[in-house]
Amino acid sequence: MSPGALLSRPGVAAVVGTVAVWALFAVVAGPAFRSVSGAAAYLNASAALGILAVAVAMLMIAGEFDLSVGSVVGFAGMALLLLTRHFGWPLWPAIGATVALSAAIGLVNGLLVVRTRLPSFIVTLGSLFVFRGLTIGLARHFTGRTQLGGLDRVEGYELARVLFAADVGPFRASIGWWIAFAAAGAWILHRTRSGSWIQASGGSAEAAREAGVPVDRTRVSLFVATALAACLVAVLQAVRFTGADALRGELQEFRAIAAAVIGGTLLTGGYGSVVGAALGALVFGMVQQGIVITGVDADWFQVFLGAVLVAAALFNDRLRRRATEAG
């Protein structure tokens, strides 16, 4: 493969971009960014978004959006705290119920999209409001508050802490979940039949249906997967912070889409990379921590990030065009 062809693969550009952003901050932010604790800082900051971005990227490759993932993070976290602290459930049955609730949300999102043929952007924008509102409303209704704590006093917490909140040195457990999630996603996308079906569903739903691919089932499964990714993030955060906040996960849906796009995923579907999306999230974390370490006011984070997003999208678009023009 020529260097040009290699660079044209989705995700490869993300590797280059990630290295470039790292190099930039390695210079301007200095040794603190290059150190182990610097690495831990940006990896810890990237992990939750990385988990969401992997699932969101796969859904986008299949041709759909899910704007509800941030709200589901808040909803699932609050559900876990209400079930345990308000209704007195032990932790593990509550986690099971939270997983089931999240899967149900994904299923409803997916079925609404494939049955009504409404754009998923609209359907899940609706879910974004519904589940954020429900989270705040239910939390107030049952407890009078929107922040709940004390998960560490619930039966079963010790095991959950080991699985979801144990640290290896300065590195949080969520990094491991992020890597595992990305590896599983990449395996599914590149090595299984479902992966081909995901790419085909987004690339040309008509051609996919004609070839016998269950396009609707593929898409609905991915809506369930994004909701489950949101649930995993909620559990990771609830266990680490021993509580929930009704506003947790806000704006994560857009950040996840941005991470996927930085990673080379096409907004119109059919093309993208799971590893790229995971790296896109890493770029977020590096920019966030890099700006803090540099000593620049954190207000500038979003400005820089927005510029990175547009630059990455432009770069990816150019590469894709070059890779897919008739030779």
Binding site: M1, G195, Q199, T324
Partner: protein, 256 residues
């Protein structure tokens, strides 16, 4: 020709007999018959609106006919959906090819029928075999593509058609229904597609070639059925007819 004797002895692979179809009372097809024998190219000729597309949709299971019969190897057949027609080996290759442009050649080739190995969560596409068999099948229709990981969009029109034809043959097609396969192609690409059609024919596949271009059809066809305003106005063997006469028949300048 000896082969003629053979085809007359066994019933054609696919046959539409006395087929009629109306849409909202407007006649689209009236008592049209066409036979597609194995190893032969049968051309369906006609101008726009002559009824070619309607007949194609009937033999590939998109519509049912109002009257008449579809037979496969002499036995009455009924296709209630395109899927049923494909399962019986009648495979359409469309003018607007149903491919996924940004997906690789081999993934397109295998889409919906990917070969796998392993079990349970380790069940995965046998990528080595998928790539190898894609290359081999394309070579069988006369196309050499070394890097089958290229996106489909990077192929030329003729090569894309080749992938569609090779895929149909690989999945056991016995009758290929080619709807204007060379319509959007240049001279060189047309040559590639004609070569593919001849190779498929030589393997014993029955070919129904639908076109409004007698110049493309004439050198390839073994038989020509000319449609005009929903009726079959002429049926000729290759030896009986020249390009000019085919053009005249299509245009209706012979008084028929």
């Amino acid at each position: 020709m000896n082969a003629d004797v053979a085809t007359e002895a066994s019933p054609p692979l696919l046959e539409a007999s006395g087929v009629s179809k109306r849409f909202d009372g407007v006649r689209a097809l009236e008592d049209v018959s066409v036979a597609v024998p194995a190893g032969r190219v049968t051309c369906l000729l006609g101008d726009n609106g002559a009824g070619k597309s309607t007949l194609v949709k009937i033999v590939t299971g998109v519509y049912g006919a109002d009257a008449g019969e579809i037979r496969m190897e002499g036995e009455p057949a009924r296709f209630d959906s395109p899927r049923e027609a494909i399962d019986r080996g009648v495979v359409p290759v469309h003018q607007h090819l149903a491919v996924v442009p940004l997906m690789s050649v081999w993934r397109n080739f295998w889409l919906g029928a990917e070969p796998t190995r392993g079990r349970g969560p380790l069940r995965r596409i046998d990528v080595g075999r998928a790539r190898r068999e894609t290359r081999e099948s394309l070579a069988d229709v006369g196309i050499e593509i070394e890097d089958v990981d290229r996106p489909m969009a990077t192929l030329s029109g003729g090569e894309r058609q080749a992938v569609a034809i090779a895929r149909a043959l690989h999945r056991g097609a016995r009758v290929l229904v080619l709807d204007e396969p060379t319509a959007a192609l240049g001279v060189k690409q047309t040559g590639i597609v004609i070569d593919q059609i001849e190779r498929a024919r030589d393997r014993g596949v029955g070919i129904l070639l639908v076109t409004h271009a007698p110049h493309d059809a004439h050198p390839l066809g073994d038989r020509y059925v000319v449609l005009r305003r929903g009726r079959a106005i002429a049926e000729r063997a290759r030896e009986e007819v020249g390009v000019e006469e085919l053009s005249r028949l299509m245009a209706g300048q012979d008084g028929a």
